[in-house]
Amino acid sequence: MSKQPNRLSQTVNECRIDRTKPIQFIFNGKSYQGYQGDTLASALLANGVTLIARSFKYHRPRGILTADAHEPSALVQLGSGSKCEPNIPATTIELYDGLEARSQNCWPSLAFDVMSINSLFSPIFVAGFYYKTFKWPAKFWTNFYEPIIRKAAGMGELSGKIDPDTYEKAHDHCDVLVIGGGISGIMAAKSAADSGAQVILCDENPVLGGQISDGKPPLEEVSGKGPLVEQVETLLQLRDMNNVRIMPRSMVFGWYDNNTFGVIEQVSDHLPQPEKNQPRQRMRKIVAQQIILATGSHERSLVFPNNDRPGVMLASAVQRYIRQYSVRPGQKAVIFTNNDSTKKLVNDLNSAGIIVSAYVDAREDITSDFSDIQCSNILNGYVVDNVHGGKKVQAVTLRPCNGGPLKKIDCDLICVSGGWNPAVQLLAQRGQKPQWSENYQNFLPQFSTGEDFLCTGSLAGLESTRDCLDHARLVGEIAGKRISGNTNISLEKLTSITTTKELETHNTGFFEVLSDKGKSFIDLQNDVTRKDVELAAREGYRSVEHVKRYTTLGMATDQGKTSNINGIATLSRSLNKPISQVGTTGFRPPYRPVSLGVLAGRSRGKHWRPILRTPLHNWVYAQGGKFIESGLWHRSQYFPINGETMAQSIDREVRTVREKVGFCDVSTLGKIDLQGPDAATFLNRVYCNGFAKLPVGRSRYGLMLREDGIVFDDGTVTRLDDDHYFITTTSAESCSIVSHLEYCHQVLWPELDICLADVGEDWAAIALAGPHSRKVLSEIVDNLDVSNDTLPFLKAVTTTVLGGLETRLFRISFSGEMAYELFVPSQHGADLAKMLMIVGEKYGIAPYGVEALDVLRIEKGHVSSELNKFTTASDLGLGGMMSKTKDYIGHRLSQRPGLIAPDREVVVGLLPLNPKHSFAQGAHIITTGTSATAENDDGYITSAAWSPTLNSYIGIALVRRGRERIGQIVDIVDPLNGKKPVTAKIVSHHFYDLENTRVTA
């Protein structure tokens, strides 16, 4: 058995493969050989393998239709284990050593697929059959029909494992973006680059050149000195220009506002493993000033009975396999066409040693000259009546259009051309409605020029090589001129090329063979037939968009690139409406499938969002402290010692603060520096309580409302100097508050002379709390009297500690003990923590985390989680803070009847009758004896904790008319978590030190 029986000896245009590098690969468990540069498809064809897959719905045997990314049929499962990927067109897979691929959607094997029995049921499985069948009984759909259908349908399988490859993103800017690296794109890029513009040229293929590498022109052109050789030279020059970036393997998938483009660069997809340090794919966002679209056009198929058999291929694909890959896709060929572009194929077939059994041209009145075609059997006005053969084409039956006897011809390859479709998808993404051209029998751009874009090449409707090159050169010049600022450029020369252009294809509008034999496919990937579209029209579907959804035509991964127009033609005939009126469906990004991995880029695993670390992070870790995520921050949660559990650690930390002294990292607090002559006025307007008369050297608790009267945040304001204030906010709201204050400053009251700065990063903050806190403090301050007389509750000073470290020292308390907040420059935060441990050791100092912090504040009755964007100041028991006279944000709307109604849920405390009965945040309050329903719902728990100080579970809750019900017994119910109701008494939410004696000691 010879290796690669269908590989030809070296051809002139063989530009894709490297015969010095043979490659072993495996398909469906069998080993084959190909060459570097082969796609899986070309290598399989070289080995005589033509059966590749089974179709989606009917499980029909399928082969390779195309030689590019628009392949609808030859989808394979690539790789194994965590690298396993389904639904990859074999035509896009670049061969590498050890490649493993297999067919999907077939069981037990490709050759014998049990599910092909579906074909027998095909009369039921027509378009829209889901909507009409499987309806009764109704509940059978979810439990019976749907799971079966789901299992039967679908293509490849996901591995379910984590993707081991890395992906990344990048940003690029350029003056001119050229999309498409065929002959027109290359010429336009060179021309634009010559004007000095920064140019990026993108092409989705590994090798640029389009037509040159396609070998579309006659061979003699390339060997001599024709426009195509010109192109190769131009491409080489482009590579050396400093202002040009060529991006092969880069697919432009979307055109977004302001000329931002999404591009997927396949960095390492063609390698078995990405190189170390290389991502597998990269998504680029490219911003351009001028865009040149040279996306080219794609061949479409024809609709005839059994046109999906392995061996039916697009004519241009056959040509490409012969010329570029030196592969012979068959031995005996029949050409079936409706245009002139297939004439040159005959020479290729002949030179590849393929017998041209017939050249079948469906056009009845044609003016083309067939004298240059070396084929003895040219049949004008004939169509393919049927294709014979199941797993492979074996023969065709031909029928003359005007009636007459059928002819049967043996063959194993049918080269089909239904015409050429300009790739208008990107333009459609921007809202253009492609226009049907009767001359060309395809959809052309609605506008091929605009202020910031120009179309060229076959996209613009040009057909001859000469026209494309002349046009593209001009387009590049125009783009270059526009970049230089020249706004009034005449497009006359461009228009004259497009109006006088040479027509080459002479397509006269033949799409389908009307026959009842077999199945005539329109969309191969979704198994949509001609009859499906006719059925849709009969059932009343008129709009092409509706027909698409009803039949699923054009909805597969290839988005109907080889099939949409044929479907539109069938619909046009069925509705008796010209194609120009039927129109085409719209297109949205992405142009071709994009992997989710590349959209995620580096934002996955621990990097899926930034982790913020406080200045004490390393110190906490060294202490064995545990971290908890709080928004983006990692905060110290608790500090277990000697193998404590979390609960034990929290209890100990709370007791340490209540009985001795502890300290907590509160660096996550938002901190804002406010200076200026109008600072006090500004504060007065943003806080609901008064700040006009805050003395220098004093802190005050501040409550900020939203303009709708709901509480926004609570924090502190300290007056450091006459016109200098230091604002703190809760950690969670720091960004919103900064944004809000800037809004007030810049938009609401720009006349106030103030300066705001977010200084959150500049300061580390530590709360030192407990009866011994003063003693510890006295040992770290440099020259400060910290007695209660000099430093009473709410006093603030700027001083130094530890021999010269600048400190802002505020006597404020969150915990309910005597406490101080120390702000030091952030990179010295760890110093302070270390020293507190050393100095405080004799007083029994211990660090505490946010868990203990929370228990302490709940015991004290400090509201925190109660600020949940539903509560007002009065709800929180802070109504007394609201000034009655001044204008402040939230004042007017906070007085709305609904927000001051007496039956609102207000903050109270809850003590379970049995102190050991626990309850959770979110549990609901109902009157004892009533049932747990929405009607009886009287409120919910907002904070809950085990209190080592009270030796009981305690909670804070929002309870309807709560303050009137102090002393009442209620039930706490938590049906969501399946817990038994807990009986509790409503109490004041200040559980500890109601007179504030400890705080002010």
């Binding site: 977004y256 506002d257 302001n258 931002t260 966002k285 911003v287 303009e707 709708d708 944004s739 800037e742 809004y743 810049q746 938009v747 609401l748 720009p750 006349e751 204008d887 004042h891 007017r892 709307l893 709305r896």
Partner: protein, 99 residues
């Protein structure tokens, strides 16, 4: 989408945060409650040009008044919000003078 910040130049959407309608003005403290409700809750939803507030949160932090077409997404004008406010205040002062 790209917005030309008057201070930093053209930047992409990632650098900006949207707030909403810039035409609504904070009423006087003693204005009727209906004015306040309108200020906080009631908005036009034009199909066409829309004056809106954006903040250049990923850049200089300035609040900007952007005139953007809600259909075509074309940005007609961008200026610092404080300038819009200062112009509006001086216009109002002018009107009062003329009246």
């Amino acid at each position: 989408m790209r917005i030309p910040c008057p201070l930093c130049g053209e930047r992409p959407l990632e650098e900006f945060t949207y707030r909403g309608d810039a035409k609504v003005k904070r009423p006087d403290h003693d204005a009727p409650i209906e004015d306040w409700v309108g200020y906080v809750y009631v908005r036009d939803n034009p199909k066409g040009d829309h004056q809106e507030h954006w903040r250049h949160s990923g850049g200089c932090g300035s609040w900007l008044t952007v005139n953007r077409n809600t259909v075509s997404h074309i940005i007609n004008s961008v200026e610092e919000a404080r300038q819009t406010e200062e112009s509006r205040i001086s216009e109002k002062t002018q009107e009062k003078k003329l009246a």
